[in-house]
Amino acid sequence: MGFFTEKRAVDPPHPRRVPRLEGPLTAEALGRAFENCVDYNRRAVAVGGNEALRMELVFLAGMVRMERVSDYVLRPLAQDRELGELGEAVAWEKMRSGALYSLSVTEVATLDEAVSRLIDGDCLLFFPGKERALSFNVGTEEKRSIGTPEDEVAVKGPKDSFVENLRTNTSLTRRHLKAPELRVAEQTVGRQSLTPVDILWLDGIADPRTVEELQRRIEAIDIDALLATGNLEEYIVDRLDTPFPLAQSTQRPDRFCYGLCQGRVGVLVEGIPLGYLVPGVLGDFLRTPEDRSENWMVAASLTVLRWVCLLVTLFLPGLYVAMVNFHPEMIPIRLALSIMAARRDVPFSALFETLLLLLAFEVLQEAGLRLPQSIGQTVSILGGLVVGSAAVEARLISPAVLVVVAVAGIAGYTMPSQDLAGALRLWRFLLAVLAGLAGLFGLTVGAAALAGHLAGLESFGTAYLIPFADGEPLVRQPLPEDKLRPAHLRSKNRRKQG
C-alpha cells in the first residue's frame, strides 16, 4: 500500500458459526466440547441413593464455588430419598421448581447455551437420555474489592471505584442512581472472549438516537476478544484519525452517574474497571468530578487555569523555538540576554534541543510508568534531576529550554484526562516542528490546522468544540443556577432541577 495509492480493501471476515457447537445437548457432547480441559468436571450422582436414577453433574472448577455445589446441589440430591423415589419426569419437574437450593434454575436445551452457562459459573445437571439439562447458579464471586480510584483521586467526594466485575459496576451505578428509569442493556462482544458489554442510560433523559447508535456500533464489533479498553473505544468513536479522545472514560461511579443524569449514555465492560460516557466533547475532558464538590468560584478558576495550561502545554515549546530562532525582538531584552548567555556553548539548534528534551521527557515518563512505583520514582529523580542538571552543566542543553519543556510538561499534567494529555503531547511536537520551520507563521498555521481538526471532530453527532459553538458556559456556575442539561445532549427533558 503506497502513500499515493488508495487503501486496499481488507478481506471480509469468515462468517460466524451459528450455532457454534452442533448436535444434541448431552453430557457426552459437552465433554467433547471441553476435551483436554482439566478444569472440566463430571460427577455421577444417584438421586436419593436410588442407583436406578443416576444423574450427571457438570461444572468448571474455579468458576463455581465448591461449597455451594456440595451443600445446595449435591447434598439434597444425594440425601432426599423422596426425590429418588419419584419418576424421572416428576423429579425433573420438582428440581426445576425448587427442590434444589439455588437462586436461579434454568432449563437449557442447546450446547451453546450449556457451554455459556458453565463458563458463567453454573453447574449443569443431566438426566440420562434427556437432551436437556438444568442449570444452577453456583458461581464464585471472587473479585477485586471496591477500592479508591487511583487515577482520579477523590479529595472531597465518594471514594469508590469501578472494578473488573461488570455486575459490581452496574450495582455501583444502581446504588448512586436508584431511579427505575435506569436502563441496562447487554450485548456480547468478542468471538473468543464473549465479553458482556452493558449500555446504561436514563430513560426519558438520554437521547434515544444516541442509545440506538451506540448499540448499533457495539453490535457491529466483530473481534476475537475484548480485553483492552481500545478494543471498545476505537470501535465506537466516530473517527480514528485523531489523537483526541471522543469517548470519556472514568473510574469513578459518581462521575459516571452524573454523566448519565446529564443525558449521556454509559458503557460498562466485563473485565475493564472503567465506565465510558458518550458523547465526549472537549469541555468534558477539562472538568473533574471535584469541580462540583468545591466552591463554584474556586472550581471556575481552576477550570480557567486548566484551559490556560492546555494552551501552555501545546504552544510553549513552539513559541520558544519561534521566538528564539525567528523573532528575538519579541523577547524582553533582559530575558533575551539571559537566553543568549545560556545558549552560548550549547552545540545544538534551539529546535533540535527542544525536540530532544521533549523526547527525553516522554521517555522518562514512559519509563516511570512502566516500572514498579518505587523504581519509577528513582528513574524520575535520576532522569529529571541528575541527568537534567548534568546535561545543563555539560552545556549539552540550555537551562532555558529545560525550563520551557518542564513548564510545558507540568502544565500537561493538569489535564484531568490522560487521553487528552496524550493528544496534546503529540500536537506539541508537531507545533514545535512547524515553529522551527517558519517561526510564528508556522506556529499559526499549526494552530489553525489544530482548530480546523478539532472543529471537524464529532462525537455521536455532537461537535467536539461544542462549548465554543453553542454558548454553553466553559466553567461551572453556582449549582442552584445550573438548571438545564446541556443542549448538545439533545435530552427530551432538559430541566434538571426546580
Binding site: F326, P328, E329, I333, A336, L337, G442
Partner: protein
C-alpha cells in the same frame, strides 16, 4: 484523497522554504543584541551601535560602527561588521546627531524589518556616535532602563505625519563626554526646528503631563510634584497641580507661580508640540478651522495647586 492533500501541503512547505518564502531562522547566540544605535549624518551616514549585556554577566558592552552612503547601507555594513551579526530588533534607544536627516531616519525605522517603532528617540547636540562611545561603561549597568522623558519613534512619527511639532528629548555631551539631558528638541515637518531649554524645558514636560517626582525649591521649603493634569479650554491652558510638602512649609501660591512661569516659557516658543489646538477645539468643534494652528503664545495660563498627603507618587 486526504493523503494527497497532506502530500501537497508538505511539498508546498518544502518548496516555499527552499525558495525563501518562509522566514529564515537565526540562532540567537550568534547574534549581537544592539541596545542603542547612534546615527550621524552629513556627507556619509555613520551608525554606531552599543551592544546589550547582562548587568551581572562577565561580558563588557562594546560599540562598533558602520559607514555608508545612506542609512540603509551603513546599517548593512554595521550588521556584517563582525562574525556575530548585529541584531537591531532589540534597539531601545535611537540617538540622532545634529546633522542627521530626521525625516529619512524615521522613514528608515518605519520600513526596516528589525528596528522597532517603540525605540526611544533622542536628539544629540553634537556627534551621537561619540556620545554613545563615551557612555559604554555606564551602559553596561543600565541596559534595559526606561527614560520617563522618552518619546518613541512611533509617537514622533504620528505627530509629524499630521504636520505637527513633536518633542524629542535632547542630549548633549557632558563633562566626561557621556550624554546628559539638555532639554527638548522640537521636531517639525522640516526637521529639528529648535530647542526648549531651562524653564521652557520644564514647562514643556509639564505640558506633556510629566513632572511627577520633580522637587521644587521654594522660599519657605520644598515641594514634590505628585501629579499634573493639563487641559486647554476657553483660550487658556489649565493646569491642575498636585504636590506634597517635603521640606518646611512651602506656599501653594508660590508653587502655582513656579508652574505658571514654566508653562508660559514653554508656550512662548510658539511651537504647539502638545496638540493644544485640538484640545481647544474639543469644546468648540464648529470653530475648528479658526482654532487650528492657534498661536500658543496668546493662550492664558491658569494653574490650580493642591497639597496631597500620603505616600503616593
Amino acid at each position: 484523497m486526504k493523503r494527497r492533500v497532506w502530500a501537497a501541503a508538505l511539498a508546498f512547505v518544502l518548496l516555499a522554504g527552499g525558495a525563501g518564502f518562509l522566514p529564515r531562522s537565526r540562532e540567537m547566540e550568534r547574534l549581537k543584541l544592539v541596545s542603542a544605535l547612534a546615527v550621524d549624518g552629513g556627507g556619509e551616514v555613520s551608525v554606531t551601535a552599543l551592544t546589550a549585556v547582562r548587568a551581572s554577566g562577565e561580558e563588557e558592552p562594546e560599540t562598533f560602527s558602520g559607514v555608508g552612503g545612506s542609512l540603509a547601507s551603513a546599517c548593512r555594513n554595521l550588521r556584517e561588521s563582525s562574525a556575530r551579526r548585529a541584531y537591531l530588533g532589540q534597539t531601545e534607544q535611537l540617538l540622532l546627531g545634529e546633522g542627521c536627516d530626521l525625516e529619512q531616519t524615521l522613514d528608515f525605522v518605519l520600513t526596516d524589518r528589525e528596528l522597532r517603532m517603540d525605540a526611544s528617540l533622542y536628539i544629540v547636540k553634537g556627534n551621537a556616535g561619540q556620545v554613545l562611545q563615551a557612555s559604554v561603561e555606564r551602559a553596561g549597568e543600565e541596559t534595559g532602563g526606561r527614560d520617563p522623558r522618552g518619546r518613541t519613534v512611533g509617537e514622533t512619527l504620528a505627530r509629524l505625519a499630521q504636520e505637527e511639532y513633536a518633542l524629542i528629548p535632547a542630549l548633549a555631551p557632558g563633562g566626561d563626554g557621556t550624554a546628559a539631558p539638555a532639554g527638548w528638541a522640537v521636531a517639525g515637518p522640516g526637521g529639528v526646528a529648535g530647542y526648549l531649554e531651562g524653564e521652557a524645558a520644564v514647562g514643556a514636560f509639564l505640558l506633556l503631563g510629566g513632572g511627577a517626582g520633580e522637587v521644587v525649591t521654594l522660599s519657605a521649603g520644598a515641594a514634590e510634584v505628585t501629579g499634573v493634569q493639563i487641559g486647554a479650554r476657553d483660550g487658556a491652558v489649565k493646569c491642575r497641580l498636585e504636590a506634597r510638602r517635603v521640606q518646611g512649609e512651602p506656599g501653594l501660591k508660590e508653587l502655582e507661580a513656579w508652574a505658571a512661569a514654566n508653562l508660559r516659557a514653554a508656550l512662548s516658543s510658539g511651537w504647539d508640540c502638545w496638540g493644544l489646538d485640538r484640545e481647544l477645539a474639543a469644546g468648540r468643534p464648529w470653530d475648528w478651522e479658526e482654532i487650528r494652528g492657534v498661536d500658543v503664545r496668546l493662550l492664558d495660563v491658569e494653574v490650580t495647586g493642591r497639597w496631597v498627603e500620603g505616600y503616593g507618587p
